[in-house]
């Protein structure tokens, strides 16, 4: 048996930064917007409900301050989630899957395919209307190392799913 032990040049290793990350489908922005609007209207709705329940003067006088405060927070949150949309990117390399997300806290997670336990493609009702699906990648143990790539085109998700499945099964 020939044993080789070449020295590794750190600079020559495949670099995550060189990987071309693909943005997720634009339609997912609509889902984010819709979900956001539903949540915000629920919050503001409850606020109005509370207004009718509590008759105290202190609360009634300051209601509009509270309302605009909450509204402002909602708007900021909405803007951030829209801006953060651009940061949601993914890539599949020969040996691993990369997923990047987050505006305020930006993170790039890589899961080697040899560590994947199983893959799941799930489609909510809303996502089906836009032809999207979510790809969930499960590793062993810690839930922190699981990946969930949202807003992929259905066919694309299926393709990745098949690719990973065959790789995972091939390794056994």
């Amino acid at each position: 048996m020939t044993f080789i032990n070449p020295q590794i040049q750190i600079e020559d290793l495949p670099n995550v930064e060189d990987a071309v990350l693909k943005p997720i489908s634009k339609s997912y922005l609509k889902i984010i917007a819709l979900n956001g609007l539903v949540v915000y209207s629920l919050i503001l709705g409850t606020l109005f409900g509370v207004r009718h329940l509590i008759k105290e003067d202190g609360f009634q006088d300051n209601f509009w301050y509270v309302f605009f405060g909450v509204l402002g927070l909602c708007i900021i949150n909405f803007i951030i989630s829209i801006l953060a949309f651009k940061k949601r990117k993914y890539a599949v390399r020969g040996h691993d899957v990369i997923y990047a997300k987050g505006l305020i806290v930006h993170s790039i997670t890589t899961v080697p395919i040899s560590r994947i336990q199983h893959v799941e493609e799930s489609r909510s009702w809303l996502a089906r209307q836009f032809g999207l699906s979510t790809l969930k990648i499960f590793t062993a143990g810690e839930s922190g190392s699981d990946l969930s790539i949202k807003g992929l085109h259905h066919l694309e998700a299926k393709g990745i799913n098949d690719f990973i499945s065959s790789e995972v099964n091939g390794n056994d």
Binding site: V16, D96, S107, T109, V111, P112, E142
Partner: protein, 501 residues
């Protein structure tokens, strides 16, 4: 000793009925505890509700006990297990029949446990754990000890795919007790623990009691004050100081005692037995446990010590395995190890681990800024609370707090380091404790680079490395460094083709 044949479906020891009965009774009482209290009180008050008399209540209780007993017997009768060549089979269920099959190769762990009741009736329970979720845990609650040991051995035999030859050599070689804790070392271990937690616990408990009985105490004090007016003022102030000091010393003593007693109960008779390939831990006073560690199943090692402990030569090693539930996780701690014993164990569990391999690197000084910020926020909260509760004169608390905060930041940075060697990642952290986290590179499940919007202009990032049992973070290093570690770790994981368990 008669050898048990595991190839035929067998039941557990008949004493299992008692264990199941006791277990069901406890869960039943726990569930309906509030109801019991409510009923009991109202019956004691009015002697009867509706037409229910105390005698009927007693009858009802006996009825419930009987039902639980019958369920226990049925459960016992329907609980059968056997071993085939590669699998462990278990049939359970009275009405819904469950058939569980676990391949031996997927078994993570086999524990032998003995709680207080089981110690009395001299049986042990065997727990079989797989890497799956919590539901896949299996517990056989009553077996006599030789049978349990035999079962464990048989379960592990195929599991680790030991060849026939090795098996023989294992049977020849007597396992030796590698480490046995002495009561003195346990006492030291208990005393030198981080007392902040127990102190806080007891302090809040005492504070809670105090605020409950505040009114009562105030009345008492009023009376005292009336008497005190006659006495000299200085004496009362002195008295007040003395009582406060006594209370403080009392709380400190109680928290010490609490830690010591806890350490003793959990680690009573701690024993580490060395086998050919595995390490066995035995310990516990009320709950005796016995567990084996297989090196290939270990995901992370965490070594903890602190200044005082270092002086006495006390080290704790915590072994993290995949998906062991949190309660069980605590049992994988070995306390009060000498430095040499620690090194030996680490070497046994992680082959080729070397302290000197690889370069030690530290996080960026940005680390200090973040911990200072944390401390500042903590200080704001403390100041706010003390202002709200005790008034403006409590601001002197800052005189104590500031130096402590500065020390916190200093030590947190001083103790933080990381080291990437050929096969291992070592990360040091801690403030009061000194914690060393070791993981094998080929057991990494995922790598994550994290950067907040504030860190981007400074080109600083954190690296989160996850294994199947735990995520560890290399905090606040320069982005280029983080990227190159990221690439290196991924390269090693992906090119080696080694299994993570």
């Amino acid at each position: 000793m008669e050898t048990t044949d595991f190839s035929q479906p067998i039941r557990q020891s008949a004493k299992g009925i008692i264990v199941i009965f006791a277990f069901n009774l406890v869960t039943f009482v726990k569930k309906f505890f509030v109801l019991f209290i409510a009923f009991g009180v109202s019956i004691l008050r009015s002697k009867s509700i509706g037409n229910v008399t105390p005698t009927m209540m007693v009858l009802a209780v006996i009825g419930v006990l009987l039902i639980i007993l019958i369920i226990a017997i049925l459960k016992y009768l329907n609980f059968k297990f056997y071993l085939s060549k590669d699998d462990f089979h278990l049939a359970t269920g009275i009405i819904n029949k469950d058939n569980t099959i676990i391949p031996k190769s997927k078994i993570q762990n086999v524990y032998i446990k003995q709680n207080f009741l089981q110690q009395i009736i001299n049986v042990v329970s065997v727990k079989i754990e797989t890497a799956g979720d919590k539901k896949s845990e299996i517990e056989i609650s009553a077996l006599d000890k030789p049978t349990a040991l035999l079962l464990k051995k048989k379960l592990f035999r195929k599991a680790s795919s030991v060849s026939e030859e090795l098996e023989q050599s294992e049977s020849i070689e007597e396992p030796e007790v590698f480490f046995k804790v002495t009561p003195k070392r346990l006492l030291l271990e208990g005393l030198s623990q981080n007392h902040f937690k127990s102190f806080l616990l007891i302090f809040t408990f005492g504070f809670g009691l105090y605020s409950e009985f505040k009114d009562f105490l105030q009345e008492l004090e009023l009376e005292k004050h009336v008497e005190g007016l006659v006495e000299l003022d200085e004496a009362t102030i002195l008295n007040l100081i003395i009582t406060n000091v006594i209370i403080l010393i009392g709380v400190v003593l109680i928290s010490f005692l609490f830690s010591v007693v806890k350490t003793f109960i959990i680690n009573f008779n701690l024993e580490v037995v060395e086998h050919q390939k595995t390490i066995e831990i035995n310990k516990g006073l009320f709950n005796k446990v016995s567990l084996s560690l297989t090196p290939s199943r270990i995901q992370n090692l965490v070594i903890t010590t602190n200044r005082v402990k270092q002086y006495f030569g006390l080290h704790t090693i915590a072994v993290k395995q995949a998906m062991v539930n949190v309660k069980q996780q605590k049992n994988f701690n070995i306390v009060a190890l000498e430095k040499e014993q620690l090194d030996y164990l680490v070497n046994k569990l992680l082959s080729n681990y070397n302290d000197e391999q690889g370069d030690v690197a530290k996080p960026r000084p940005y680390f200090m800024r973040i911990s200072a910020l944390e401390m500042f926020l903590f200080g704001v909260v403390i100041n706010g609370l003390s202002l709200a509760i005790f008034g403006i004169e409590m601001l002197w608390i800052n005189a104590v707090f500031m130096p402590l905060a500065a020390l916190y930041v200093y030590f947190a940075y001083k103790k933080a380091y990381y080291r990437i060697s050929e096969d291992f990642v070592t990360i040091g952290s801690g403030v009061i404790d000194t914690t060393t986290n070791i993981l094998e590179i080929h057991k990494i499940q995922s790598v994550k680079l994290k950067q907040t919007i504030f860190q981007r202009p400074r080109a600083i990032a954190s690296l989160v490395i996850s294994t199947a049992s735990k995520s560890v973070t290399i905090p606040y290093i320069s982005k280029s460094e983080a990227i190159s570690i990221y690439n290196l770790l991924l390269y090693k994981v992906e090119s080696q083709d080694r299994d993570w368990m």
